[in-house]
């Protein structure tokens, strides 16, 4: 699996998000290398995350008649990020279709379909636009199985393009993961690279638990050379994507890149930094992460969402509870500021940068 620099999405007008892409800059990437070597299969080719997701949907639709894809603009247009491109043409409008514009309606009807044996995969166009469906997600999707003593399961996958760094206007760059991770009953997954995007989405669709599948918008145009189908580490497991001994950086989705870059920069200062891609936010993979933290004795979690009450709080709290005697410094959080997500010209100041991560690392007393 080799790695290419992403192309600027702006140059390819059919491949871009229709609301925000003009201002987006493609993030050139090294793939963090979580994919297992593919079995003998199609020849490797260069695959963006959107293409990998598209492929996963196509393969799930082909393998299982009960898989349905619907939502706003996912049919003819193929989604504003083109993740569902071509699926309506291939599988017909009884399998893939445009719904009326109402998110509570999309989730609510998906619940009914799942009760009747289907596996709906629905898209919330941007994560602030999942909020109208909040009641259906929190009061029903998360609770139906428990409510019925396991008699009714809801194998629904809710795809949510999330996070910022694409020059999106207001309400187009939220990181809503904390709302979902603090809701018992939901499984919350977020890939950081094309291979994981494919593999985790397929597993999510196949899961009998409802999954909130969060797709990092700024990584959509990241490319990897890959043979699909690919099977990466299983869902519900975090993965060490760079080994180190001095500190552990935890990241997910869009900040995995930041963590790797920070580790690289740290190396120049003589620090050996381990990086873990969490991949699944709920459940949290205590085993993998605690093992690393006990080894390094220091950790920081990086995310785009505001720090206060963000997902990083849970990570820091539980790692401290479980590993207190092993820690030589508090678990730090490097996150967005505690303000609403800013307008495009200010997002560079809001987002956690390599500099902010390095500053945090420096704030530790390395003599401890």
């Amino acid at each position: 699996m080799s790695v290419e620099t992403g192309t600027d999405p702006v140059t390819d007008s059919t491949e871009v998000n229709d609301e925000t892409a003009t201002a987006a800059s493609a993030k050139g990437d090294t793939a963090p290398g979580t994919a297992r070597a593919p079995d003998a299969g199609p020849a490797p080719s260069s695959v963006t995350m959107t293409k990998a997701l598209n492929h996963a949907l196509r393969d799930s639709l082909a393998d299982d008649d009960t898989v349905l894809v619907f939502g706003e603009d996912v049919g003819r247009l193929g989604g504003v990020f083109r993740v569902t491109e071509g699926l309506r043409a291939e599988f017909g409008s009884n399998r893939v279709w445009d719904s009326p514009l109402a998110e509570s309606g999309i989730i609510g009807t998906a619940i009914g379909m799942a009760m009747n044996g289907m596996r709906p995969v629905v898209e919330m166009q941007f994560d602030a636009y999942a909020y109208p469906a909040f009641e259906q997600i929190v009061s029903h999707v998360a609770k139906m199985r428990n409510r019925t003593k396991g008699r009714v399961s809801l194998p629904i996958t809710i795809r949510i393009p999330y996070a910022g760094d694409i020059g999106g206007v207001e309400h187009h760059s939220d990181s809503s993961e904390a709302y979902w991770t603090s809701t018992p009953g939901l499984t919350v997954i977020t890939p950081s690279n094309p291979a994981d995007a494919y593999s985790l989405l397929r597993e999510s669709i196949a899961s009998d638990d409802p999954v909130v599948f969060m797709e990092p918008k700024s990584r959509y145009w990241m490319k990897e050379t890959l043979s699909l189908p690919v099977s990466t580490a299983p869902m519900n497991r975090a993965q060490v994507i760079r080994e180190g001994t001095d500190a552990t950086l935890l990241a997910y989705g869009p900040t995995v890149r930041t963590a790797l870059d920070s580790a690289e920069a740290g190396a120049e200062h003589g620090l050996s930094i381990e990086v873990i891609d969490l991949r699944t936010l709920s459940p949290f993979d205590d085993e993998t992460v605690s093992e690393s933290v006990r080894k390094t004795s220091r950790a920081a979690i990086i995310h785009e969402a505001a720090q206060f009450g963000g997902y990083g709080a849970e990570v820091a709290a539980r790692l401290t509870e479980r590993n207190f005697p092993y820690l030589s410094a508090p678990i730090l959080r490097v996150a967005g500021f505690d303000v609403p997500y800013p307008s495009p010209k200010l997002e560079e100041f809001y987002l956690p940068t390599v500099e902010r991560v390095l500053d945090a690392l420096e704030s530790w007393d390395w003599e401890l």
């Binding site: 349905l68 009884n94 719904s99 009326p100 109402a102 509570s104 309606g105 989730i107 609510g108 009807t109 998906a110 619940i111 009914g112 379909m113 799942a114 009760m115 009747n116 044996g117 289907m118 709906p120 109208p132 009641e135 259906q136 009061s139 029903h140 609770k143 139906m144 199985r145 428990n146 409510r147 019925t148 003593k149 396991g150 008699r151 009714v152 399961s153 018992p184 009953g185 499984t187 899961s207 009998d208 638990d209 519900n236 459940p283 949290f284 205590d286 085993e287």
Partner: protein, 368 residues
């Protein structure tokens, strides 16, 4: 302008509620929009079931006052809508009830103890939805209307000969989800019947502060969906209208909205105080429209009902009441460990740890 629009059946419902049997027990001359009065045999069955559910409601309300149940919302006075609509369902159809619709669940064949488990506080939903083709009674208002729509959509996609029926209240009609359900059902032409029990109040809020429309059935036109206004205390009218709507749905002709005009004779739940918001005279006034009285009178006139059948039905009602008392006077077995058993299909290590915490607490407290 050249907008292509479906203009068929574009009309508002007739002002006078559809009714076969008047409050005086005689046939009315109200226009019935092509519906026909059910047979005497059917009406006798409906009579029987209404008597049973009325006795059921009275018994449960009584037990709730005694503290055997945590809370109970009775549908006393609304038996015609509850029983008439539910009886019209075929076995393969699905019912999507609310907290108010225990009588419907009883009519659907759900055992008493399983219906009441939620109100006694044993478990959120006490029955197996797949066994009775009835979803858990929804407490978040209007949410179930979308589930009914989605379920029917799946039935349609699978080519199943099944329709869905959902109850909702006049209050619930104001929620956004109701609108979204009406719209999705009509755009997708799902076999869904919306039975809106307009019982004049949402807890304390009277209909006139809930809507400024002439009638709630007027909403249907805005979705290109047929709407009917029915005398909700005439079980003959309710049954005929719902049966016809279900047949329409199964026939591929889409959803129907049926507004049943009725009245909640009891308080909202046992702990409500209706004297704060309505007069005793109003309740008195509605007694003359009683659904059981009028049907009994009518069926005695046609000869379908005589003293001995009435006595036999009354006896069956007492037997039911006794079984309700028996069921509610038994202590339900609740196992605290079940807290963790049904949340996810995929086991979680952290939940197993929490279960151990609880087990230790139980052991320390001397629990089994």
């Amino acid at each position: 302008m050249t907008i292509d629009v479906p203009t068929t059946g574009r009309s508002l419902p007739q002002l006078q509620p559809i009714s076969f049997i008047g409050a005086d027990g005689r046939l009315t001359d109200t226009p019935t929009e092509g519906l026909r009065i059910p047979s005497d045999a059917t009406l006798t069955g409906l009579y029987r079931q209404m008597v049973l559910v009325r006795r059921f409601e009275a018994q449960v309300t009584h037990l709730t006052r005694q503290g055997r149940l945590a809370t109970y919302p009775s549908a006393a006075g609304q038996e015609a809508a509850e029983v008439g609509a539910t009886t019209a369902l075929a076995p393969n159809d699905w019912l999507f009830p609310t907290y108010r619709d225990s009588a419907a669940l009883l009519t659907r064949g759900v055992p008493v103890a399983e219906i009441l488990a939620a109100f006694r506080g044993d478990w959120h939903c006490g029955f197996d939805p797949h066994e009775y083709h009835a979803s858990p009674a929804a407490t978040p208002l209007a949410t179930q209307t979308l589930h009914a729509t989605g379920f029917a959509m799946a039935a349609k996609l699978k080519g199943e000969d099944a329709a869905t029926l959902t109850f909702l209240g006049d209050g619930a009609s104001s929620e956004g989800d109701t609108h979204e359900a009406f719209n999705f059902a009509s755009v997708w032409q799902t076999p869904t019947v919306f039975v809106l029990q307009n019982n004049q109040y949402a807890i304390s809020t009277p209909l006139r502060e809930q809507t400024n429309a002439t009638m709630l059935a007027d909403r249907a036109a805005g979705y290109g969906m047929p709407g009917l206004r029915v005398d909700g205390n005439d079980v003959a009218a309710v049954f005929a209208a719902v049966a016809a709507a279900l047949a329409r749905g199964r026939n591929g002709d889409g959803p129907t909205l049926i507004e049943c005009l009725t009245y909640r004779m009891e308080s909202h739940t046992n702990s409500d105080d209706p004297t704060k918001y309505r007069d005793a005279e109003e309740v008195e006034h509605w007694k003359q429209f009683d659904p059981i009285d009028r049907l009994e009178r009518y069926l005695r006139q046609t000869g379908a009902l005589d003293d001995s059948t009435v006595a036999e039905v009354a006896e069956a009602a007492e037997t039911l009441a006794a079984s309700v008392r028996d069921a509610m006077n038994q202590e339900a077995e609740v196992d605290p460990r079940e807290l963790f058993a049904h949340v996810y299909a995929t086991p979680r290590a952290a939940l197993a740890e929490e279960q151990q915490v609880l087990e230790a607490e139980l052991a320390a407290a001397g629990h089994a």
